[in-house]
């Protein structure tokens, strides 16, 4: 009861933070060169940041699972990857809409865009793998390896704007070289914080759902599993034509 009430308060807090971020985004000054389309920044940057965070959590939870063999870490890894896929998709679609307004094309063969799309497919493969293995232990061991391998793809995505000359701007957050007006930066930071809180709540709920699925699977396995000797049938006596 106590934890349900605390969870409800956290949900309300998350909604308040998101509404606050929305107000900040709406009140932030217009960017002369881009007009209102620049407000996409307050969705695009936080969603891609959360995609990184979600996949990094998947990586860390996968390693922890292999070290501890505790299924809760596998559930966290799977839940986080699912949220990461959703946020990556939103980031790509948001980026395409912004790209149309800024570059006049939805898609350009830019290193950051292309590698982000490829990263999305790595984790779609991860989720497909999880769905194809019903047995929890086997699913955890196999998907944890892919959860670790997935991070290999994250590194070129992040550094692509530095390694290649791309149309995409360089990383937005560069602590030593912030080229952003104060009010816009404040709105962006509030937006990042709001999306992070939303991620934390989503992860919590998805994890709880995964725990319920696990309990359901274990209950079904306990009642419907094969019993030793099932394959042996009793001989029939006295029914032959003799």
């Amino acid at each position: 009861m106590k934890s349900t009430r605390r969870s409800a308060w956290l949900d309300i807090a998350a909604i308040v933070v998101v509404l606050g971020a929305l107000v900040f985004a709406m009140l932030s000054p217009k960017v002369e060169s881009q007009g209102d389309s620049a407000r996409m920044l307050f969705v695009h940057v936080p969603t891609i940041w959360l995609a990184y965070l979600a996949f990094a959590v998947t990586f860390a939870a996968s390693i922890t699972y292999l070290a501890t063999r505790s299924l809760r870490w596998d559930l966290i890894a799977g839940s986080s990857a699912e949220i990461g896929v959703v946020f990556t998709t939103i980031a790509i679609i948001g980026g395409m809409i912004w790209g149309k307004a800024t570059w006049n094309v939805y898609w350009t063969w830019d290193a950051r865009l292309t590698l982000t799309a490829i990263m999305l497919f790595v984790y779609i493969g991860y989720l497909a793998l999880r769905r194809s293995i019903p047995e929890p232990e086997a699913r955890a061991r196999r998907s944890s390896v892919l959860g670790i391998l997935g991070l290999v793809q994250l590194i070129p995505v992040h550094f692509s704007v530095t390694w290649w000359r791309t149309l995409h701007q360089t990383n937005t957050f560069r602590p030593r070289d912030i080229q952003m007006d104060g009010p816009i930066l404040a709105a962006l930071l509030v937006s990042v914080a709001a999306f992070t809180v939303v991620y934390a709540r989503l992860l919590r709920y998805r994890y709880e759902l995964a725990q319920l699925h696990l309990a359901q699977y274990e209950a079904a396995a306990a009642t419907e599993g094969p019993v030793a000797g099932d394959a042996v049938s009793a001989p029939t006596i006295g029914t032959s034509g003799a």
């Binding site: 292999l66 990263m119 493969g125 944890s144 390896v145 070129p156």
Partner: protein
């Protein structure tokens, strides 16, 4: 192998029919197409064991007490050898069909084995991960293809810089790093993956 090589050669033959038979264009895209074909069709070679190995054979290997790391290494070496043969044959076909410039060919002695080892590691790992899953054979290409992108980039960019007169070693370094990371992950996860068979 006798199916994969003709399959790859046909793919190289189909490209000019789709994009046009302009020799300049074909020379420009030829190297990239070669490595795309190697990547996509090479996966078939590297996961061949999934198709030919029965669960009883896998159990027998496990019961023999063979070290999972040695098993992983052996599978990678076998797949890499086959992939290298595939790369060489398909490379000759690409040179013949697209008229590729073969100056600086000696660098291919480094690029091709690195690509073969990297793909073999990825294929072996992915086959172990998805091998006995319900959708195993369909899943492996989905798992391998996006993860093979750094290898594809490293191979094509290295070959491209050969044409410019010098070799940009940073692309080769990228390939070496990927091969090493995959080897480390493969060695560290060989035992837990063997336990799930």
């Amino acid at each position: 192998m006798w199916v994969t090589i003709p399959f790859g050669a046909i793919a190289l033959l189909l490209v000019p029919l789709a994009v046009g038979i302009n020799q300049d264009v074909l020379q420009q895209i030829g190297t990239g197409m070669l490595f795309v074909v190697v990547m996509l069709f090479g996966v078939l070679t590297s996961i061949r064991r999934t198709n030919i190995e029965t669960p009883e054979q896998r159990d027998a290997i496990a019961l023999l007490g063979i070290d999972p790391v040695a098993e992983f290494t052996g599978r990678v070496m076998a797949s890499a050898a086959l992939l290298l043969v595939f790369e060489i044959v398909i490379g000759v076909v690409a040179v013949a069909l697209y008229g590729l410039d073969i100056s600086g060919w000696e660098w291919m002695l480094v690029v091709m084995p690195l690509a073969a080892i990297g793909l073999a590691e990825l294929g072996t790992l992915s086959a172990s991960i998805a091998g006995s899953a319900q959708a195993g054979p369909a899943l492996v290409p989905l798992l391998v293809t996006p993860l093979a992108v750094p290898l594809l980039l490293g191979a094509t960019q290295t070959v491209k810089t050969i044409g410019g007169g010098g070799v940009n070693l940073s692309w080769l370094v990228l390939m070496v790093i990927v091969v090493l990371v995959l080897a480390i992950v493969g060695v560290l996860t060989a035992r837990p993956l063997q336990e799930t068979r």
